[in-house]
Symmetry: C2
């Protein structure tokens, strides 16, 4: 609710997305719990919320919140099976994104870890 730019309702694949949107998208991956969830789903294929809660060892409400975010941004999708909702990675390119980042990180891990400049984490 701040942007001066108007996003076309029909973004063409060719036209690069608004930097704003790209940044927001990356922020969707900018939380360690969300990354762990994605990695777990990638490894296991499909998991229920309860299974994820156990696997990551965090509060149910926390996991559920992060799932909502991931789902909303299109990183994962869930389907109801009885009382459970089972989640999986929504698109193979999401996995690519993660692998690419890890590959880059492999060479810079020390730098990134040590970076306390702008963001206490960066």
């Amino acid at each position: 609710m701040a942007d001066a730019e108007f996003a076309s309702p029909f973004a063409l694949p060719e036209s690069p997305a608004e930097p704003d949107l790209v940044a927001k998208y990356f922020r969707g991956l900018g939380d360690s719990t969300r990354v762990r969830i994605l990695e777990l789903l990638e490894a296991e294929g499909e998991l229920s919320v309860t299974e994820l809660v156990i696997a990551v060892g965090e509060a149910q409400s926390k996991v559920s919140n992060h799932l909502a975010c991931l789902r909303w941004c299109g990183f994962v999708e869930g389907r109801r099976v009885g009382r459970q909702v089972r989640y999986r990675v929504a698109d193979g390119r999401v996995s690519e994104l993660l692998r690419l980042a890890q590959s880059l990180l492999a060479g810079n891990a020390e730098h990134v870890a040590a970076c306390t400049r702008i963001e206490a984490r960066c």
Copy 2:
């Protein structure tokens, strides 16, 4: 400060980086100014800080801070030329990362834009 996993001091390229580090890395891309800077550098090849300040239309100190972050995390590198410092994208995979995100975004742009769940932006 919650993970039960122990980070090996010598992460192998094979072993996936710590989720913490991956998330931090993505956060490095989670700001629209930083994304704009990267896109500009990708398009122009190499730019000085002043040129970037003009191009993005933001305060010099803001741009410089973001450059510090990008440089620190290995997204860009700068070299001094006289009184100027000229920056460029440090690794082709960074561009890949951006393109991959934009490609994914092309299909989800509306969802992501509308997402006000956990992160007011997400």
